[in-house]
């Protein structure tokens, strides 16, 4: 059975374009899925490796996206100023280009609720797209 599985896996890999690790978001503040009771002033992101941030936007309750200033140089640790936030649900969308020239993107969703219960949220490193 093990040999058959190995053969099956090897056959599965035929005609494949193999992939290697890409830049991904290791952690952020606010974290994805978190609830904060104080309006955050900055968005802090830690990437798996230095990457050039090419797009950074924030939107509230599915509304229009507002562009945020991104650093000019590649960085592994991003700190971007946020506008004054009103209570609501926010989605922060990021795009980066790594050393391998691949464009990676992802979203971080958080809720600002001054009367809510703070929730740390969870960092799912796979919630990003190539």
């Amino acid at each position: 059975m093990k040999i058959r599985n190995l053969v099956g896996f090897l056959a599965l890999t035929s005609l494949s374009m193999a992939a290697q690790a890409h830049t991904h978001l290791s952690s952020s503040e606010p974290a994805d899925g978190s609830v904060v009771t104080t309006a955050p002033k900055t968005f802090v992101a830690h990437f798996s490796e230095a990457a050039k941030v090419t797009a950074l936007t924030i939107s509230k309750d599915g509304g229009k996206e507002e562009k945020l200033a991104a650093p000019a140089q590649a960085t592994q640790h991003l700190s971007a100023a946020l506008p004054n936030l009103e209570p609501g649900k926010y989605v922060l969308t990021w795009r980066v280009v790594g050393d391998d020239s691949h464009v990676m993107s992802g979203k971080v969703a958080f809720t600002f609720d001054p009367k809510g219960t703070p929730m740390a949220g969870k960092m799912d490193e796979h919630k990003h797209s190539h």
Partner: protein, 285 residues
């Protein structure tokens, strides 16, 4: 508009047409001396495919800035276009465009120029040395050539199928049989080379992590596996059942071969398109 989906679609289309152009040019380089009635049509195929591929490659490259910015409007962003220009993507696009232009010129209506065609094929394939997931790997020195072998054989296989149909339709059965036998003789060792190169690449870059199979990446690979197995079935049918009948002069053999090769084309288009989308949108992580 989902810019990632648009870029992936253009990438997939560029892969299909580019491999068609390269494969048809390779077919002509090897077998043009055996072609009479189908030669001009095959040159036209290679030329038209290379010109269309050239446009698609240019479009795909220009969309990189849009992907960086996350919206189509970013295609006119000078800073992002500058980033793309300074990346290996520009070199790869340049090589592909140069190679396809050479193929288009080499397959012009008046004559076939083998050496420029071969140089054009080489330029297109060499573009894969500079981009993709193998380019930045610590073992890139030997992984890159494997990728070129993998893509090159795929291009020859796929790009030769329409020319084979043209041969079956237009050439006398004796000549068609000879061309088919010559192609089949090369495929016997080329297809295993494609398979082995692909296996080694994926084994090294994914470290044979079985968890890959549960990801979108793995699911697309599973589809490609299924299509590849069916593809091998058609190839075996052609080689072992239909080609011998063509050789013996059976009237219906040509028609059956055309149908079988057409099925191979459909499967390979699906595999190549899946590869384009796979490498644009997903990773095994």
């Amino acid at each position: 508009m989902n810019i990632d989906a648009l870029a992936a679609a253009v990438r997939a289309a560029s892969f299909i047409v580019m491999l068609q152009a390269v494969g048809a040019a390779a077919f002509l380089t090897l077998f043009a001396h055996q072609l009479r009635a189908s030669g001009a049509a095959t040159r036209r195929l290679a030329r038209n495919a290379s010109l269309l591929a050239l446009l698609l490659v240019a479009l795909h490259y220009s969309l990189e800035a849009a992907r960086m910015g996350g919206e189509l409007a970013s295609i006119s962003d000078a800073d992002l276009q500058g980033m793309a220009l300074r990346s290996p993507l520009a070199l790869a696009a340049g090589l592909r465009i140069l190679g396809l232009a050479l193929i288009a010129w080499a397959t012009r209506p008046t004559a076939l120029s083998r050496r420029p065609a071969a140089l054009g094929i080489l330029a297109v394939l060499c573009a894969f040395l500079f981009v993709g997931h193998t380019a930045n790997h610590p073992s890139a020195l030997w992984l890159r050539p494997l990728l070129v072998i993998h893509v090159g054989v795929a291009a020859f296989w796929f790009g030769s199928l329409i020319p084979l149909i043209l041969v079956l339709r237009r050439e006398p059965s004796v000549r068609a049989s000879a061309v088919l036998d010559a192609f089949s003789a090369s495929a016997v060792w080329l297809v295993p080379a494609l398979f082995i190169a692909g296996v080694v690449l994926l084994a090294v870059l994914t470290e044979l992590n079985p968890n890959v199979l549960s990801l979108p990446y793995g699911k697309i690979l599973a589809f490609k596996l299924g299509a590849f197995i069916v593809l091998l079935g058609f190839a075996a049918l052609n080689r072992n059942r239909l080609a011998p009948k063509l050789r013996l002069g059976y009237a219906a053999a040509s028609r059956s071969l055309i149908q079988s090769v057409s099925c191979e084309i459909v499967l390979l288009v699906a595999i190549i398109a899946a590869t384009g989308v796979l490498t644009a949108l997903y990773s095994p992580e």
